[in-house]
């Protein structure tokens, strides 16, 4: 096998120029989706509202179909929908000159809303009912009890799942090449096709993705430690100080 190491190094640097796009594709949808997903989770927990059915339907649909299909479908549907929308609002905007990354943001956000709202829902359910009751008995309103006691605990217990969602989203962004977005995978594909160095190119981005996933997990691990202090025993020295 004539394994081309120089090519790998070269591809590594070329692919890295797509790193910014990949990171944007991961974190912008995540940030956009979080508040919506949270609202959805609360509506789903309260059940009796009219939105409940629609949201449940939405989540089931988005979680029941492959993301690659969602990308293909929305990518062929969105331009005409947006075009019609802008025309009816009489906004002068050539939809076909839009950067395709906008579509990618929309699609990944729609998808993350479904995943995250399930994450938040189970996290809110995991906070013991007694916490809410205790907050009420000392005179907090329901709203105060949620904001100060329930939600902070839910967020901490949701962190591992948010971390997973983020890694999955990162993996999902590798499909953005279907929308001609130039992220890591798209660039590597181009390089590979150019010189038929497929193995080298894909091993290279394999490594990049593993590294990125590692950084994300370390980051969330840190957040968990930082905000989940209350879950762990104190360290010894401090214990002695008080004993």
């Amino acid at each position: 096998m004539n394994f081309n190491l120089d090519f790998m190094v070269a591809t590594f640097w070329v692919s890295l120029t797509g790193l910014g796009v990949t990171l944007k594709l991961t974190f912008i949808p995540l940030l956009l989706a979080t508040p919506i997903a949270f609202a959805f989770a609360i509506i789903r927990l309260k059940k009796n509202q009219g939105f409940y059915q629609i949201i449940t339907f939405y989540i089931s649909l988005l979680r029941g179909t492959p993301i690659v299909l969602q990308i293909l479908l929305f990518y062929s549907l969105l331009p005409s929908v947006l075009n019609a929308l802008f025309e009816s609002l009489q906004i002068e905007l050539d939809i076909f000159s839009l950067n395709p990354i906008i579509y990618a943001y929309i699609i990944f956000t729609l998808n993350s809303v479904a995943t995250l709202s399930e994450v938040f829902r189970s996290a809110l359910l995991a906070v013991q009912n007694g916490q809410l009751e205790a907050a009420k008995t000392i005179g907090l309103t329901s709203f105060q009890a949620y904001v100060r006691i329930v939600i902070p605990q839910a967020l901490v217990s949701a962190l591992p799942n948010i971390s997973n969602t983020t890694v999955n989203l990162l993996k999902g962004t590798s499909l953005a090449f279907l929308m001609t977005v130039k992220e890591i995978t798209a660039l590597a594909k181009l390089e590979a096709a150019y010189g038929y160095n497929y193995i080298e190119a894909y091993i290279t981005i394999f490594v990049i993705y593993v590294l990125l996933a590692t950084v994300i997990q370390l980051l969330f691990g840190f957040l968990e430690k930082r905000f989940g202090r209350y879950k762990y025993p104190r360290n010894r020295e401090k214990e002695n100080l008080y004993a």
Binding site: Q131, E133, A134
Partner: protein
């Protein structure tokens, strides 16, 4: 000061409270005894509107509240006049011992942070936890957690503190430290309604003992009347069983 009239509550098909009346004077320590399922916990929770009773009313201070119809505002009003100590403590897991105590002061009652802090320190010292301010609940023993629970309750200076079996989740060797704090409170004239199985505690501090069974009050009087000289057969049976259990435990 607190007068409950004809409270009814049903869960599905079972009626848990079948018309209970209760009168609590300022400085009273009311101990409620009774077998499992007698409705004593539900009674306590209903007073704080943690359960919505189906019928009945309560006069608290100079105001009357309907259990069934009380508005959100009225409920908050009652909760600010009362405090609740839970069987399983229910300390806020994401707050330190000190923050658990200040929470109700700063957020519930708009007391300035600094003042709340000073008060919390004072109260935690009083319950013997002066060295555990910045410990999180998961870092405290059950007895310590329950003492924080009591501190959280007294901090808000309630007119009545409701205790829901405060010692029954504790290991035997930790019960004493919690009862000690409660006895201290009783001595200082705090008004308390206590659901418990600690007969000795009832005998020592209760100004009024109530025996409940199947959603009704069976017997009511001083500790001497109800515990030493019960009139009703059901009370006698219950007390026999409880004292037997205690002997077994020893």
């Amino acid at each position: 000061m607190l007068e409950i009239k004809n409270i009814h509550k049903r869960f599905g098909n079972t009626e848990v409270l079948k018309g209970v009346d209760l009168n609590v004077e300022k400085g009273d320590v009311v101990v409620i005894l009774g077998p499992s399922g007698s409705g004593k916990t539900t009674l306590l929770r209903s007073i704080n509107f943690l359960e919505r009773a189906d019928q009945g009313s309560m006069v608290f201070g100079d105001k009357k509240y309907s259990f069934q119809k009380a508005s959100k505002k009225e409920i908050l009003e009652v909760r600010k006049k009362t405090a609740f100590v839970f069987q399983n403590y229910n300390l806020f897991q994401n707050k330190t011992a000190l923050e658990n105590v200040t929470e109700g002061l700063v957020i519930g009652r708009n007391i300035p942070k600094k003042k709340a802090y000073e008060k919390a320190v004072e109260i935690l010292t009083k319950v013997g936890l002066s060295d555990r301010y910045d410990f999180y609940p998961s870092q405290l023993s059950g007895g310590q957690q329950q003492r924080v629970g009591i501190a959280r309750a007294i901090a808000v200076e309630p007119e009545v503190i409701l205790f829901d079996e405060p010692t029954s989740a504790l290991d035997p060797e930790l019960i004493g430290e919690v009862l000690q704090v409660m006895k201290q409170l009783a001595k200082e004239g705090t008004t308390m309604i206590v659901v418990t199985h600690e007969i000795t505690f009832a005998q020592e501090v209760a100004s009024k003992v109530i025996f409940m069974d199947e959603g009704r009050i069976i017997e009511c009087g001083t500790a001497d009347q109800v515990i030493k000289h019960p009139k009703e057969e059901r009370t006698k049976q219950f007390l026999r069983r409880i004292t037997n259990d205690m002997e077994y435990a020893i």
